[in-house]
C-alpha cells in the first residue's frame, strides 16, 4: 500500500465522517431518538456528573465497549452517540479501505466500497442512528478478515488477533458468543487441511485420518488447539466479566438481564418482541426464511460463496454468520433481528469477493455481477429499513425521508413524552430532588440537565429514599399503570399506594403524562414526629 493511497483514504474517511455527522445531526435535530443511545447518554452523565458509587455504572454497563465508545464525545452528551456512530462508521470505512488496498490494487473495489458507504441505507442508518452498530461491524469485519488472513499466512498472529477481536465483538454484542458453536466444523476442516496427506478431497482426508490412530491423534490435538486458541480468550473473558458482575452486583448475569446494566431488556420488551399483531401484518422472521431474507438483502453473498466454492474452509467461514442468525431465531424466538445482523452480510460478502480479487479482476463478468448485486443491495436495503420490525429503524427511515417529522409516529411520540417529563423536572426549583428509577426512566434522565437533582439506584441512598422518601427527596417519578415497562420498577402506582398507607406521606400529583406521573411529597401531619 502506497503512502499516497493511505492519504487519499484518510481524506475520503474524513469526508465521509462529515457527511455522516451532518446526516446524523440533522436527523437528530428532527427529533430522532432511540433507547440505546439514550441509555448510554444517561449512564455517561452518571459517570461524569453523578454523585455516589459510580463504579458499578462504569464497569458493568453493558455492552461495555459501545458505552466507552461514546466517552470521547461527551463534551455534548445528547450528541455523543451520534458523533460516535458517524465517526465510527467513517473509521470502519478506513479500516476496510486499508484492508482492500492491502489485498488488491484494483480500484473497482474501492468504488464498490465507496458506493456502499455513501448510498447503502443500512450503512447510513449505522452512521446516523447513534447506536453501537458501527463498533459491532468494525470488530466483526476485523475478526473475519483476520480469520481469512490466517488461512493464507498460517501465522499465530492472525488467529490470536482474531481471538482478541472476538472478545471485543462479544463485549459489543453478547449474542455473537454463539458463533463459537459454528466454528466446530470449520476448525475440523482447518485441522484436516493441515494434515500431511496426499488425498485432496476433504471427505477422504477425514476418512483417512479417522481410521489411522496417529493421524486421528494429530487431528484431535490440532482441532482442540485451534479451537482453544480462538475461543478460550472470549470464553474466559466472559467468565471473568461474570465474576466481576457477581462480586459487584451479586448476579453473574447482571450485565445481560438487568435493566440497570443494559438497554436490551427494555428494548426487547418495547421494540423487538414478536407480537401477534405484527405477525398479522408482516412476513415473520422465522428459521429458514431468515436465510432467504438475508440473501435477498445481500445477494453478493451468493457470488461470494460461488467464488469461494473450491475451498471448504473459506466457504464454511462464509456460512458461519448465516448459521448464527438462523440460530438466533431459534435461541431467541421472540425477538426480531435488528439491522446489524443483516449488515454483517454486506461486509462478509465484500470480504469474500475481496479475497478472490485475483479472479474478479481478471473478468469483467464478475465485476458486472458485483455491480448488479450492489444495486440490488441498495434497493433491498431501503426496503428492509422502511419495513423493519424495529420502530427505531423504521422511524429513522421515516424521519430521514420526510422533510418534516411526523409526530404521529408511535415510537417518536414516546420520546416526546420523555422530553416533556424531563423538561418538567428541569423546570423544578434548583435544590429540589426527585426520586427516579432509571431501570425504565433512563430516557427521561438522559434529558435532565442537572443530574444532581436525581436520586438514582446507583446511589447508596436510593434504597433509604425508597423506604423513607420524604427524608431524601421532594418528588418521585412514578410509572403509571399504562406504562408498558412499568413492571421493571418499584416506583409505580402500587408503590404510591403503599407509601401513602404505611408512611406518613401525602403524594400530590404535580405532572402527568400517558406513562409517567411526578408526585410531590408532603407529610400528612407536619407537627408529628
Amino acid at each position: 500500500m502506497k503512502k499516497n493511497d493511505l492519504t487519499y483514504l484518510i481524506f475520503l474517511s474524513v469526508i465521509l465522517a462529515v457527511y455522516y455527522l451532518v446526516l446524523g445531526l440533522n436527523i437528530h435535530s428532527k427529533g430522532y431518538y432511540n433507547h440505546e443511545s439514550l441509555f448510554y447518554i444517561e449512564k455517561a452523565r452518571i459517570v461524569f456528573q453523578g454523585m455516589g458509587n459510580r463504579l458499578k455504572v462504569i464497569g458493568l454497563t453493558a455492552p461495555i465497549l459501545p458505552f466507552y465508545g461514546i466517552m470521547p464525545f461527551i463534551f455534548n452528551y445528547s450528541l455523543a452517540p451520534y458523533i460516535a456512530s458517524a465517526i465510527g462508521t467513517a473509521v470502519l470505512f478506513l479500516i476496510i479501505g486499508i484492508c482492500t488496498l492491502k489485498t488488491t490494487k484494483d480500484p473497482f473495489y474501492m468504488l464498490v466500497l465507496l458506493a456502499l458507504f455513501i448510498f447503502h441505507p443500512g450503512i447510513i442508518y449505522m452512521a446516523g442512528c447513534g447506536k453501537s452498530i458501527y463498533i459491532i461491524i468494525i470488530f466483526f469485519f476485523l475478526f473475519f478478515y483476520n480469520t481469512f488472513r490466517f488461512y493464507y499466512s498460517n501465522t499465530t498472529f492472525h488467529i490470536s488477533i482474531s481471538s482478541i477481536l472476538l472478545v471485543a465483538l462479544v463485549f459489543c454484542d453478547y449474542r455473537f458468543i454463539w458463533m463459537t458453536l459454528f466454528f466446530v466444523p470449520l476448525v475440523i476442516s482447518i485441522s484436516l487441511q493441515s494434515l500431511n496427506l496426499a488425498e485432496k478431497q476433504s471427505i477422504f482426508r477425514l476418512f483417512l485420518s479417522f481410521n489411522n490412530p496417529s493421524l486421528r491423534r494429530k487431528l484431535v490435538n490440532k482441532t482442540f488447539a485451534v479451537y482453544i486458541i480462538i475461543f478460550i480468550l472470549p470464553l474466559i473473558a466472559i467468565l471473568c466479566y461474570k465474576i466481576l458482575n457477581q462480586t459487584h452486583a451479586n448476579d453473574f448475569n447482571y450485565f445481560l438481564d438487568n435493566p440497570y446494566a443494559t438497554w436490551n431488556v427494555l428494548v426487547n420488551k418495547l421494540e423487538s418482541t414478536v407480537t401477534p399483531s405484527t405477525d398479522n401484518y408482516k412476513l415473520p422472521e422465522v428459521s429458514f426464511l431468515t436465510s432467504v431474507r438475508v440473501i435477498i438483502y445481500c445477494p453478493l453473498l451468493v457470488l461470494g460463496g460461488f467464488l469461494l466454492r473450491h475451498n471448504i474452509q473459506h466457504l464454511l467461514t462464509l456460512l458461519i454468520p448465516l448459521a448464527l442468525v438462523e440460530f438466533l431465531k431459534i435461541e431467541y424466538p421472540d425477538n426480531f433481528l435488528s439491522q446489524q445482523y443483516y449488515l454483517i452480510f454486506i461486509f462478509m460478502s465484500f470480504m469474500a469477493v475481496l479475497f478472490k480479487s485475483n479472479i474478479v479482476s481478471q473478468s469483467n463478468i464478475y465485476k458486472y455481477a458485483i455491480g448488479a448485486c450492489i444495486v440490488v443491495e441498495l434497493v433491498t436495503g431501503y426496503s428492509y429499513l422502511n419495513n423493519s420490525f424495529f420502530e427505531s429503524e423504521k422511524n429513522f427511515y421515516a424521519i430521514a425521508t420526510q422533510p418534516k417529522p411526523d409526530n404521529g409516529l408511535e415510537n417518536q411520540s414516546r420520546y416526546d413524552e420523555y422530553i416533556d417529563v424531563a423538561a418538567f423536572i428541569n423546570s423544578m426549583p434548583r435544590n429540589s430532588r426527585i426520586l427516579v428509577d432509571d431501570a425504565n426512566a433512563y430516557p427521561i434522565a438522559a434529558f435532565v440537565k442537572n443530574m444532581q437533582k436525581l436520586t438514582l439506584p446507583y446511589q447508596n441512598i436510593f434504597l433509604s429514599a425508597i423506604e423513607n422518601p420524604s427524608t431524601y427527596v421532594d418528588y418521585i417519578l412514578v410509572a403509571s399503570n399504562s406504562n408498558k415497562v412499568g413492571g421493571y420498577t418499584q416506583l409505580n402506582e402500587k408503590y404510591k399506594a403503599i407509601m401513602q398507607s404505611k408512611n406518613n406521606i401525602m403524594m400530590d400529583r404535580n405532572y402527568e403524562s400517558d406513562n409517567w406521573i411526578i408526585y410531590k411529597l408532603r407529610e400528612k401531619n407536619p407537627g408529628r414526629n
Partner: protein
C-alpha cells in the same frame, strides 16, 4: 617414564599410527596440510579434530613400546625459571610442557614424544636436551593451564572490573542504591504508620497497575513477535548457497562442570553440525577441580572433535569466568556458546554467518531460539517448554522489532569475537552474564538480532534442580538490574527511553513480579476465604474492581501468550498446560526469594544445574527442523 634421544629419533608417531591403521596416509596428508595452514601441531589436530581417539592413540604408542605416565604426572615438581620461558598457548598447541632442569636435561612432558619442532624449541630455549616423559595430552593440558594460566584467569576475572568498573557486578549494591532502598523503605513504613489505609490503597493500586501494564506490554510484544513468525531471517536456499571454502573459523565454547554423563552425547551433537570440521574451533572448558569430566573425556573410545581448555581455580567459580578464560584460546572469527546437552539445528552456524553478512556491521550478536527436547517428560518440562517457547519465539523477536535491548539467552548466542573482546567479555561476577552482555552491547551502540534456528536443550525435570537453576537466573536479573541502574540517567542516555523502559520491564520487573506474586495471592485467598474486614478496608470497591480485573485479565493474558507460543511450535498437546501457569509461577516465586536471599549473602555463588537427568531420547528434538 622417560626416554632417551634415540627412541624419539626412530619412528615418528604419525607413522606408528599409520602402521597400526588408526589413521591413513591420506589422513596424514590432510593433517599436515591443515597443520601448515593453521600452525597447529600434528598431535593437536589428530586428537582434537576427530582423527583418532585418545584410547587408540594410547594403545598404538603402548604397542610401539612407549609407556604413558599416570595421573601422578600432575604432581611432578616444576621449576619457575623453566616455566617463565613458556607461553601457555604455545605449549598447549603441542601438548608438551617443560617442567624443570634435572641432570642437565629439561624434564618435559609430551603427548607426542617425536615432535621435532617442540624438541627443537626446548633445545633452543634452554640450551639443553629434553628428557621426555610421555603423558596424556589431557594431563599435560591440565598441568599447563594450572601452572601457566594464572595471568589469564586473573585477567578473565578482573579485566572488566578494571576496564569498566561501572558495568561490573563485583559490587552488588552501591552506597547510593542502599541509601535509596532504605530511604524508600523507611518512607513507606513511616507513611504506613502515619496513615495506614490510604497509603496501603495507593501501594495496592501502584502494584496492580504495574502488573497490568507489564502483562499488557508482554501481550503486545508477543503479538508483535508472532506477526513475523513466518519470516525467515535466513532461508534454506541461502544456507544451500553458502560455500564451505569461504567459511571463517568458528569457535564454539562448551563450558561444563561435572557433566561426565553428557560428554558422549555432546560429541554426537557436535558432529551433526553442518560446518567444515577443520574450521571449527571447539573449546571444552573444564574447571581445574572437575576430574569427573576430564576423566570422561579421557575415557572416550571414539575421536573427539574438541580442544580441552582447563580453567585454573579462581573465585568466583562461574560460567562467565570460564568463558572469558576460553576467549584467550579462541581462534574463530565468530564465537558461540552451547551447553553440554544442547542440540543445535545442524545448519545453525551457516545461518548465523549468512545473517551476519546480511546485517549492518553494528550487529554483533545473533541469538537463536532455545527449546526443549524432553518437553513431554513431566509437568515441569512441559511448563518449561511453554515458557521458553513464549520467551524465545515471541518476546525476543518482539523486542527485536521494537529495537529494545535483548536479554540474551544462556546459550546459542553467536558473537563476532573481536567485538566481544572489545566489550570486555562476560562479567564473571554476574550469574546471568548473558542478559548483562546483551544490555552492555546495546549501550555501546551495538545491536543483537534473532535468527530462525533453534537449539534444543534439556528441560529441568526435577523440582529442586529447577529451583536452583531458576534462583540463579532471577538473582542474575537482580544483579544486572542493580548494575545498570546505578545511574538511571546515564542508562537512558545510552539506550534511550524505549530501551530503558524495556530494561525495566524485563530485567527489573521479572524478579519483582515473582516476589510480589505470592503476597498478592495470599491477600486474595485470605480475602476470599476469611473475608477479613481490614482487607476490605485496603480494598475499597474501586481498588477491588481494578485488582480483580488485574488478577483475572492478567492471568488470562499470560496464559494465552503461552498458548500462542506452543501453538506456533505445533506443540498442541501442551496447550492446556498453559492453564497451570499460576501454579508454575509459585515455583518462580520460591526461586525468586531464594535468589534474593543469595543476592544478599552470597551474590557470586553459581547454583549449578544438574544436566543429564532426562530419560527422554534426544532424537525427539528433530534438530534439523527449523522454524
Amino acid at each position: 617414564m622417560s626416554f632417551n634421544n634415540t627412541m624419539y629419533e626412530t619412528l615418528p608417531v604419525c607413522e606408528i599410527l599409520i602402521n597400526d591403521q588408526f589413521i591413513t596416509r591420506s589422513n596424514l596428508d590432510e593433517i599436515n596440510d591443515f597443520s601448515q595452514r593453521s600452525e597447529l601441531s600434528f598431535i593437536k589436530i589428530a586428537l582434537t579434530f576427530g582423527y583418532i581417539s585418545r584410547k587408540n592413540y594410547e594403545r598404538s604408542l603402548i604397542n610401539a613400546g612407549y609407556t604413558f605416565a599416570d595421573t601422578t604426572v600432575r604432581d611432578e615438581a616444576f621449576d619457575e625459571a623453566v616455566l617463565n620461558k613458556l607461553d601457555l598457548k604455545y605449549v598447549c598447541n603441542f601438548f608438551a610442557l617443560p617442567l624443570r632442569i634435572e641432570n642437565n636435561q629439561v624434564v618435559t612432558l609430551m603427548a607426542d614424544p617425536t615432535d621435532q619442532e617442540f624438541i627443537n624449541f626446548v633445545r633452543e630455549t634452554y640450551k639443553m636436551e629434553p628428557r621426555i616423559i610421555l603423558a596424556s595430552d589431557l594431563d599435560i593440558c591440565w598441568l599447563s593451564h594450572k601452572l601457566l594460566g594464572e595471568n589469564y584467569v586473573k585477567s578473565a576475572v578482573f579485566a572488566l572490573r578494571q576496564s569498566d568498573p561501572a558495568n561490573s557486578a563485583s559490587t552488588t549494591f552501591t552506597t547510593q542504591q542502599l541509601v535509596f532502598l532504605f530511604a524508600g523503605f523507611a518512607l513507606t513504613v513511616f507513611f504506613l504508620f502515619y496513615n495506614f489505609i490510604p497509603v496501603s490503597i495507593v501501594l495496592n493500586v501502584v502494584v496492580s497497575s504495574f502488573f497490568l501494564i507489564s502483562i499488557v506490554f508482554k501481550l503486545f510484544l508477543a503479538l508483535l513477535g508472532s506477526r513475523f513468525e513466518m519470516h525467515q531471517a535466513v532461508t534454506r536456499e541461502e544456507v544451500r548457497n553458502v560455500v564451505d571454502d569461504d567459511l571463517p573459523i568458528y569457535t564454539i565454547q562448551l563450558p561444563v562442570y561435572k557433566e561426565d554423563k553428557l560428554i558422549k552425547k555432546l560429541i554426537w551433537n557436535l558432529q551433526s553440525l553442518d560446518y567444515p570440521r577443520e574450521k571449527l574451533d571447539i573449546k571444552l572448558l573444564i574447571e581445574e577441580d572437575d576430574s569427573k569430566t576430564l576423566n570422561a573425556v579421557k575415557d572416550l573410545n571414539f575421536p573427539a572433535i574438541f580442544d580441552v581448555v582447563i580453567v585454573p581455580f579462581h573465585m568466583p567459580k562461574t560460567k562467565p569466568k570460564a568463558c572469558n578464560y576460553g576467549l584467550y584460546f579462541s581462534r574463530g572469527k565468530y564465537l558461540t556458546i552451547y551447553d553440554a546437552e544442547d542440540i543445535p539445528d545442524t545448519d545453525q552456524l551457516k545461518k548465523v554467518i549468512t545473517l551476519f553478512e546480511k546485517l549492518p556491521a553494528h550487529y554483533i550478536c545473533i541469538q537463536c531460539a532455545l527449546n526443549y527436547f524432553n518437553r513431554n517428560e513431566n509437568f515441569l518440562t512441559r511448563m518449561f517448554t511453554l515458557e521458553y517457547s513464549y520467551w524465545f519465539d515471541y518476546m525476543l523477536p518482539g523486542l527485536d522489532t521494537l529495537d529494545i535491548p535483548i536479554p540474551l539467552g544462556g546459550t546459542s548466542n553467536h558473537f563476532k569475537l573481536d567485538k566481544l573482546i572489545e566489550l570486555g567479555g562476560w562479567d564473571p561476577f554476574n550469574v546471568t552474564e548473558d542478559a548483562d552482555l546483551g544490555l552492555r552491547a546495546y549501550s555501546k551502540g551495538y545491536k543483537v538480532s534473532i535468527v530462525n534456528s533453534t537449539t534444543y536443550e534439556e528441560a529441568n525435570n526435577e523440582p529442586f534442580n529447577w529451583i536452583r537453576q531458576r534462583s540463579r537466573w532471577i538473582k542474575g536479573y537482580m544483579q544486572t538490574y542493580l548494575v545498570h541502574m546505578r545511574n538511571p540517567i546515564k542508562l537512558i542516555k545510552k539506550v534511550g527511553i524505549k530501551g530503558f523502559l524495556g530494561f525495566n520491564f524485563f530485567i527489573g520487573a521479572t524478579p519483582l513480579t515473582f516476589l510480589i506474586y505470592p503476597v498478592l495471592l495470599f491477600i486474595f485467598f485470605t480475602y476470599v476465604v476469611f473475608d477479613f474486614s481490614f482487607i476490605s478496608a485496603i480494598f475499597p470497591n474501586w481498588v477491588l474492581f481494578i485488582s480483580i480485573f488485574n488478577l483475572l485479565i492478567g492471568n488470562v493474558l499470560m496464559v494465552y501468550i503461552n498458548m500462542m507460543a506452543v501453538f506456533k511450535r505445533r506443540f498442541y498437546e501442551l496447550i492446556l498446560f498453559s492453564l497451570a501457569n499460576p501454579v508454575y509461577w509459585i515455583l518462580h516465586s520460591i526461586s525468586a526469594y531464594k535468589g534474593l536471599y543469595q543476592l544478599i549473602v552470597n551474590p557470586f555463588f553459581w547454583e549449578k544445574t544438574n544436566h543429564g537427568l532426562s530419560k527422554t531420547s534426544q532424537t525427539n528434538a528433530n534438530p534439523t527442523t527449523t522454524l
